[in-house]
């Protein structure tokens, strides 16, 4: 009996392990744009919406618009219809055309301010963080500027000059740059204490290379995020300036001054405010999404995540 069992086990029941599939399929990394979009949905959505807004701003005349400042008193405050997609305002101007053209102002101001404020803040912050004796002076001046709310400062600066897009960008840049400078200085101060910076100094790295290879690349993430916040807040500040009449003159449509003009009628004709407000909100949201996505993507620890 035992022998039988042993023989049967040795001869018949020799189990050869089946070829099993791997428990986990090796993950395929999709290449190209679609793969990138799947890995970074925030960048894809934010960037996509922004791209649409850019195209709108660029091709506003080709999007079935009419002259945004053409007045038609007989067609005042029409509700949205097939002829007037977003309705008309109290002067009979086509709101659809005005919103499309208004994208130009918002995007120019938003990105112009983000760029200028980041560049100026970066330089001031780097000087303040790397050249220690300037720190006290620069930081006291910045403290002074930051004690004024940025919108108030922008309004005050606009009151000194006439309303134009360049002046609006300048005013908001001056109001926002101290925040960047403060951030950059803080990051520089913490980065220059990092052992890898000490090791680079010991390895004979000169100051310019130290800044460009060791300090600036490690500031990319906080600065990009800050720049997107500034971009979004500059769009809102521009709207506020236009809304209170201190910004871009009503002859140039901007989302802010369309809303300003619709303000008195918003309870009876809410569509006048609704469309520019929606475009503003969606654009600001897209910029913030893009910023969050970039922060993750720019971090090499996250980038190679499976």
């Amino acid at each position: 009996m035992k022998d039988n069992l042993a023989r049967s086990l040795t001869e018949q029941d020799v189990v050869v392990a089946r070829e099993l599939p791997d428990i986990l399929e090796p993950k395929k990394r999709r290449s190209g744009l679609i793969g990138f979009a799947f890995r970074h949905p925030a960048i894809a959505i934010g960037g996509g919406v922004l791209l649409v807004m850019f195209l709108i701003a660029l091709f506003a005349p080709l999007l079935g618009t009419v002259d945004p400042s053409a007045i038609a008193p007989s067609k005042r405050t029409r509700a949205p219809s097939a002829d007037f997609w977003f309705g008309t305002d109290m002067l009979g101007r086509d709101i659809y055309s005005r919103v499309m053209y208004g994208a130009r102002v918002s995007l120019t101001v938003g990105f112009g301010v983000a760029l200028c404020a980041s560049a100026i803040g970066l330089v001031i912050g780097l000087v303040s963080g790397m050249v220690r004796w300037t720190d006290g002076i620069i930081m006291r001046v910045i403290d002074g500027m930051m004690s004024i709310p940025p919108i108030l400062l922008a309004i005050a600066l606009m009151a000194l000059t006439r309303g134009s897009m360049g002046n609006v960008i300048l005013a908001i840049t001056i109001a926002e740059a101290p925040r960047v400078a403060r951030l950059v200085r803080g990051v520089v101060l913490s980065l220059r204490e990092q052992p890898y910076v000490d090791a680079a100094v010991a390895a004979g790295t000169r100051m310019p290379k130290l800044i460009f290879k060791h300090i600036l690349p490690n500031m990319l993430a906080p600065i990009t995020v800050q720049a997107t916040y500034i971009c979004a807040s500059a769009m809102i500040t521009e709207s506020i300036l236009s809304f209170i009449g201190a910004g871009i003159p009503p002859s140039t449509p901007s989302w802010g001054n369309i809303m300003a003009e619709g303000r008195s009628l918003w309870q009876v004709k809410p569509f006048i405010i609704f469309f520019p407000a929606t475009f503003l909100s969606v654009t600001v949201l897209a910029v913030n999404l893009l910023g969050d996505g970039l922060r993750d993507a720019l971090d090499p620890r996250m980038a190679k995540r499976i």
């Binding site: 052992p195 090791a199 004979g204």
Partner: protein, 338 residues
């Protein structure tokens, strides 16, 4: 006897403390307060002491990461403590550093290739791109990493591997002296042993001198030639490894040694427990700096600061007890291990 590779004379580093509205100097942290030592070619000197005694400040001072308060640093017969940054730069090649934390000592935004090529490029050791690539690959192999890993980012390596990269970066400059600032303290035991052995092998192969800053006496005993014991910014005892570990002549050294665990359950260590904390380096005590915690303190210790007295060929200790006759010295009568 040939001149030492590095000679440090009466090195001081006092950090000013600023306070008040106009940032006036309200006091100083006496981080390093007059220490002297030498390191010969191919030799390991261990600098030991508890946290906050100024060990790392000594390392950074030798790298000239800040200006010294006073003292001399002589590298191969040339004073380097007063050189301007540009005059010092070519000499920086000869002293390199490996830091404690393997995670913050590598720039997260540089690939290993660029990290290792940086010193080679800065010091003009090689200019041809292919030659630099080959050298970087050789360095990786020398520290036990794969040659083809040079295109990876630091975060793709483990702590021990990163420490190896840190060592490779130090080697890239072809230095004479490597300062290991707690280089193995952040690693777990098995990796620690690997890195220590790697350092020992490299030292033999390349004739490197090491300044091994550590608080881990077991490792120090394993790898060093000479030891200097620091307490509160001063060297209290220095000598060869055997002198320090077999016949310590300073109560602080004895207390440190008594804290080393012995991997033998039958040995009952005569543990010397020091009371209280290290005094603040802003207000070091008068007389002997160790007098607030010394178990054998007597009047003279509170008024007169002991000097480093010669006790043997290379053995020096700063303790008034050593002026007493041997049979009246309470420190010598207490056995190290029961």
């Amino acid at each position: 006897m040939s001149a030492p590779l590095l000679q440090v004379n009466d090195l001081k580093k006092h950090f000013p403390i600023r306070g008040g509205i106009f940032s006036t100097v309200t006091g100083y942290v006496f981080a390093v307060d007059g220490i002297s030592f030498t390191i010969d070619k191919g030799e390991t000197l261990a600098l030991v002491g508890e946290s906050g005694c100024g060990k790392s400040t000594v390392g950074k001072a030798l790298l000239r990461l800040f200006e010294l308060t006073s003292g001399q640093v002589v590298l191969d017969g040339q004073r380097i403590d007063q050189l301007s940054n540009s005059a010092l730069r070519p000499l920086r090649r000869r002293i390199q550093v490996v830091f404690q934390d393997p995670f913050s000592s590598l720039n997260p935004r540089m690939k290993v290739r660029d990290i290792l090529a940086e010193p080679i490029h800065n010091f003009g050791l090689l200019t041809d791109k292919a030659a630099i690539d080959k050298r970087v690959g050789d360095l990786m192999e020398k520290v036990g990493l794969r040659r083809d890993a040079i295109d990876r980012w630091p975060h793709e390596f483990s702590g021990g591997q990163r420490q190896r990269i840190g060592i490779a970066r130090a080697l890239a400059a072809e230095p004479d002296l490597i300062i290991c600032d707690e280089a193995v303290s952040a690693l777990d035991v098995s990796v620690k042993a690997q890195i220590v052995n790697l350092l020992c092998d490299l030292q033999q192969e390349l004739g490197l001198a090491l300044l091994f800053i550590s608080h881990d006496l077991a490792i120090v005993e394993h790898m060093t030639h000479r030891v200097a014991v620091m307490y509160l910014g001063k060297i209290v005892e220095k000598g060869t490894r055997d002198e320090i570990f077999r016949a310590p002549m300073h109560p602080y050294t004895r207390a440190l040694l008594s804290a080393v665990p012995v991997p033998d359950p039958d040995v009952v260590p005569n543990r010397i427990i020091l009371k209280g904390d290290v005094p603040s380096p802003m207000k070091p005590p008068k007389g002997c700096r160790f007098n607030t915690r010394c178990p054998y303190v007597f009047d003279r210790c509170r008024s007169e600061e002991p000097k480093l007295e010669m006790l043997g060929h290379k053995h020096r200790a700063a303790c008034h007890l050593n002026d007493l006759p041997a049979d009246e010295n309470p420190m010598l009568n207490a056995a190290l291990r029961v």
